[in-house]
């Protein structure tokens, strides 16, 4: 085959007719057949030569496509004046014409009216060269395991950067993000049928069918992406299949979900369309996947929390993203609300106030602020109701929570009332408390210290908060009696104090906390029992014991600092505290170079 091609190459010579045509075009009327032949051979050879040189420029330009520029440079090498006027990077539209037994390819040069050019508005300035680094990667410490990106996955990755980057991009306030045009993928008829089948199976009521479909989808790698989208839509995450079949593409799922939560703009008409519901839903989904899939290695929850928090703390975040962040955090549980949202209430209140009372800047902002406000009230009220001691004084609320205080107060009152009446109502986050598994022991924390430098992410730091999240905090709930909290501080001195501060800050507003900070300042093992007074409305709540153990600093590895608490019970739906994790990860952040 190669031979054939080469033969062909060898014989490729411009037709003499072309020579004639060219000669005519420059005014030479009658050209001898012989001279045509000679010319065409010479010209063909020279063209080949130029093309070969031009290829060199293409290679060095690191391109796969030969451009007119390359040919110009090749001509320049030969000391020939380049052909001007063919600067197009793209396809040059040669036109074809035939007539009088001749075939002709030519480049159409239209006559242009100068005034037309002058009068047309300037085209948009092309975008400048910019450098993109995936945020996720940028933060990657070299200790993290390598992520193998398979073909086609980069797209997902870029969504992730978009999603997470959306918040940070807005943070910068520089980039104008535009809705990415929806990319169209062509589906064959078979694929369309298949899609239909699968959709029916997923959405339909037939459980058996669904099982089969999930099975099929999880096996066909090509269908994965497509099915994922489907599954998200069909809320199949809730079903039992998730763990079995969908664990593997978690890294593909999460970016999409996060995008739905925090994206600045999700639909074309943000002022009219109800994208808030989508955000709520996605946030719930996120919380759920955190619960289901968060492990010590992937640390989803902490990472997600971090992302949300970062965006929330930024002043320039848009309302839509802000809403998403709050929703996302709120869905992660009461403790997260308590530690991350409630302290921010006054700040957010001020911001909302600025929009509500200030001059009307944009309707979108106003809607956004409105939504954020109701969201905050909805989520905070229940938490405040549980944690704040009783007399709900409006003034006091105002002092504590600023602009939102008044409304919060009324919400809290309502919530308390509701709680008292509907004693059995389960929290909307659908936390299902399973039997506590008293499997984790103190010694395990010791083990974890021996592991390598990746440890910061390995330790199940937030266990203390785990307890709090699963704790029988709702006074109305039949809680496991007398939960014991074992709080362990392994290192002495500054570190342990700090850790306690973290603890206390994470529990601000709760009467329990006031007792905690005073604990472990000494070096000896120390066990302290505290009776937790929940201050809840109902007195039915059983007594809680906090056992705080402080050990001398026996080892020096980083993670000890954060492996502070071990629960006597760990529920599978463990909630990790963002604050805690951020602390645990900060050393890693310090050591990394980027």
């Amino acid at each position: 085959m190669a031979e054939e091609r080469r033969q062909k190459l060898c014989s490729v010579i411009l037709p003499t007719e072309s020579m004639k045509a060219m000669a005519e075009s420059v005014g030479v009327g009658s050209l001898q057949e012989d001279s045509c032949l000679a010319l065409s051979e010479e010209v063909s050879y020279r063209i080949k030569e130029i093309a070969q040189d031009a290829l060199k420029f293409m290679h060095h330009g690191k391109r796969r496509k030969l451009t007119t520029g390359d040919i110009d440079h090749a001509l320049k090498l030969k000391n020939v004046e380049p052909l001007y006027g063919f600067q197009s990077q793209e396809f040059i539209p040669f036109r074809f014409a035939s007539g009088g037994g001749r075939e002709l390819h030519f480049y159409e040069e239209k006559e242009v009216d100068l005034s037309d050019i002058i009068n047309t508005p300037l085209p948009r300035v092309p975008l400048d060269v910019s450098l993109k680094v995936p945020k996720e990667q940028q933060k990657t410490d070299s200790t993290e395991p390598l992520k193998a990106v398979k073909p086609g996955q980069e797209e997902e990755g870029s969504i992730q950067t978009k999603g997470q980057g959306a918040s940070s991009a807005e943070v910068k306030g520089k980039e104008k993000m535009r809705m990415k045009p929806r990319s169209t993928h062509e589906l064959s008829v078979e694929q369309q049928l298949y899609y239909k089948e699968i959709t029916e199976a997923c959405v339909g009521s037939c459980e058996a069918k669904r099982a089969v479909c999930v099975c099929v989808c999880s096996q066909g790698p090509k269908l994965k992406e497509f099915c994922l989208a489907l599954f998200i839509r069909c809320n199949i995450m809730n079903s039992k299949y998730t763990t079995k079949h969908l664990l593997f593409p978690l890294h593909e799922l999460i970016p999409a979900v996060v995008t739905c939560i925090v994206s600045k703009q999700l639909c074309l008409r943000p002022d009219v369309d109800n994208h808030w519901a989508l955000r709520d839903f996605a946030a719930r989904l996120m919380a759920q996947s955190c619960k289901t899939f968060s492990t010590t290695t992937n640390n989803i929850q902490s990472r997600i929390t971090k992302t949300f928090t970062k965006a929330l703390l930024d002043d320039k975040t848009q309302w839509t993203t802000r809403y998403g962040c709050i929703a996302g955090l709120a869905e992660l549980g009461h403790d997260v609300i308590k530690t991350l949202i409630i302290p921010r209430l006054s700040v957010e209140g001020a911001r909302i106030k600025a929009v509500m009372d200030g001059p009307v800047v944009s309707n979108i902002d106003k809607i956004g602020a409105d939504h954020v406000q109701s969201l905050l009230l909805k989520h905070c009220a229940s938490v405040v109701a549980k944690t704040r001691p009783l007399p709900d004084m409006v003034d006091q609320y105002k002092v504590d929570y600023g602009y939102l205080g008044t409304m919060l107060c009324s919400h809290v009152v309502k919530a308390r009332a509701q709680a008292a009446f509907q004693a059995q109502t389960v929290n909307r986050t659908t936390l299902t408390i399973t039997q506590p598994r008293p499997t984790l022991s103190v010694s395990q924390s010791g083990l974890s210290t021996s592991s390598g430098s990746r440890a910061p992410s390995i330790i199940k730091v937030p266990s203390s908060l785990t307890l709090m999240s699963t704790r029988p905090g709702t006074p109305t709930q039949p809680s496991p009696p007398a939960t014991k909290y074992i709080v362990m501080a392994t290192s002495a001195g500054a570190a342990s104090t700090q850790q306690v501060i973290t603890l206390s800050s994470s529990q601000s507003g709760s009467p329990v906390t006031s007792t905690v900070p005073s604990t472990p300042t000494s070096l000896q093992p120390l066990v302290k029992l505290e009776s937790g007074n929940t201050g809840a409305v109902s007195g039915s709540r059983p007594l809680q014991k906090y056992i705080v153990v402080s050990l001398p600093s026996s080892s020096s590895s980083l993670e000890n600092k954060s492996s502070s608490v071990l629960p006597s019970s760990t529920s599978p739906i463990s909630m990790e505290s963002a604050v805690k994790l951020e602390r645990s990860e900060s050393p890693a952040a310090n050591t990394q170079s980027h």
């Binding site: 190669a2 080469r6 050879y45 330009g61 520029g69 060269v129 910019s130 993109k132 070299s142």
Partner: protein
Amino acid sequence: MTPLLSAPGKMAAVQDGPMELDTEKETKPEILSDGTSKLSGNAASGTLSSSPLTAGGAPKQEDQQTLIAVLQFLRRNKLSESVEILRREAGLEDQEDSQTLDGSGGGKGDRDGGEANSLLSRVSITSAAAPQSTLTPITVKRANEQLDVSVVLSAYSQQGDPSLYQVYYSGLKNFIESVLDCHRAELSQLFYPLFVHMYLELVYNNHENEAKAFFEKFGGDQECYYQDDLRVLCGLTKKEHLKGNEVLLDFRTSRFVLRISRDSYQLLKRHLQERHNNQIWNIIQEHLYIDIFDGMPRSKSQIDSMSGSFAGEARREVNKVKVFHGLLKEPEIEVPLDDEEDEAENEEGKPKKKKTKKDSMGSKSKKQDPNAPQQNRIPLPELKDSDKLDKIMYMKESTKRIRLGPENLPSICFYSFLNAYQGLTAVDFTDDSSLLAGGFADSTVRIWSVTPKKLRKVKSAGELNLIDKESDDVLERIMDEKTASESKILCGHSGPVYSVSFSPDRNYLLSSSEDGTVRLWSLQTFTCLVGYKGHNYPVWDTHFSPFGYYFVSGGHDRVARLWATDHYQPLRIFAGHLADVTCTRFHPNSNYVATGSTDRTIRLWDVLNGNCVRIFTGHKGPVHSLAFSPNGKFLASGSTDGRVLLWDIGHGLMIGELKGHTDTIYALKFSRDGEILASGSMDNTVRLWDSTKAFDDVETDDFTAATGHIHLPDNSQELLLGTYHSKSTPVTHLHFTRRNLLLAAGGYSSQ
């Protein structure tokens, strides 16, 4: 500091010197006339290396010679009248007479008489040059390339019956196919050079149709890796085309080197003598260099791994020169105990004694490496205070370095250039990974800061005057805060920028461009400081020495040049490649320079004396990337054929072949400890290879070391540790941070 300066004349002598005696034995009258040719390849180096050879008063002879050639042609075609007229007009009677005496002995005989004078002068020059050359046997004689084109071509003028060429060739082909298996592979090497030379002879003698038929009949038999050359060749069908075709000239001027065992050679010789096949025997004698060795004939795979280059394999003796591939001793720097470091650890009150021990790891390298060059073999710039600080930083960072290995692969962070519209041509990172430079086809160079630290210019002279020079933070004060930005654009080139290189101290940036210049930019003021003009043609690559001050550049004019930043003329010109120098790299000890070329060879040059000390053949396409291992012992090279080859510099051997990429490899980099080799390619992938294993697996017994007949295990798949695809971003550059995080960069191409 004394710069390496050498007069160009001296360089030329070195280059021209090694004319082996066997050239003289040949009857071929290769008259060395002054290179008046307009060939690009000769333009730059010609002025240098031809200087000792101009004595013969060549220009006149050149004319005469052309005339003689014409006359000969006329006579052959029985145009006696024209012969007479031309003779009269040119006043060539005397020469012509002598020529007729020599009579019909073909082209060479004709000239022997006519140009006895010039030949004499040439021989005397050659023999004078020969003694000097004993030190440096360079295979491909640069001097040869100075031959005038017409002379070169007239070498083909010998007449044979054009219709018999096919018979000759197929006769040889039949013979080679019928010999014992063990010899067949070796003798098959003859096919390609013979084919090319016979084809060119046909073309030269105006047998266009025979040439075409010959090409069509046998062109398909050639090894697939000669495709590119054959494509060029098939375009050549006219004698006029031969003039000015560089490819042809290369082929003609450099003798194709074959490595054949003695047994096989005897076999061939016997066959040709029996058959009285003088045509082929002449070509072998005149155009080929057969490097005969004693011992077992090589296998097909052994041959294939080494062949592919433009002019055959490297001669064995070329790679015998000792190369000091060891590293220079690190200067001892006292590392002050650093307090602000590791605050995180301090919080715990953790003892940090052991940190201090690690810092003084300079002691490890105190022992001199026996393979290392003398510390002052070439003058190196002295360390400035800032360099020392940087070294300290480096040491600190390296203590935190992740140890890589097959189980512990690096994370890869990809920097994509958006909206570059396919215009990104070159990328470089600073050693500390704080800055990134990109060269673009629109002739700009852009610099980005990839850390939060912004890029700032130094204030203008007037403003600088106002600064309190005694203050402690004077270095901070001289910076103009108003100019802080994340990226800066450097404009100055007038053609696409093909490579960029940061100086190790991060104060300068080099860029080379299609416009034939290399520019030096200051990263303090973000202005151009110097434009180094020397290459007349596009400069494909430039690279700073690891110690700064020196840099090397290589371009379309087929030479690599060594420069010092404070000299506007090159200090060394490395001439020898038969085609464009596509990439250049400094050895970690700065004493050597490696260059890769379109002629599919890699050469290693000694910076001290400009000699070529290694020639590596084996690539089947233009070499586009090179990387030295951190210990200086090995070299990796990647080419358009998608293969990475590994070379042992000390022994001059190929020691590995890494197959996997499907397109040109533009980026190669060893991890900081040399355990991992990363390669990035046009096929949008980054691949990681286990270089430790690749180097360990090599059998280096004495035999292979002596003969260079390495048997490569085909273990690419075992060595491949990972393949990482980007969606649509070719990998232009790779860089390991000081902690072994892998950074990759490339321009996103939308389609």
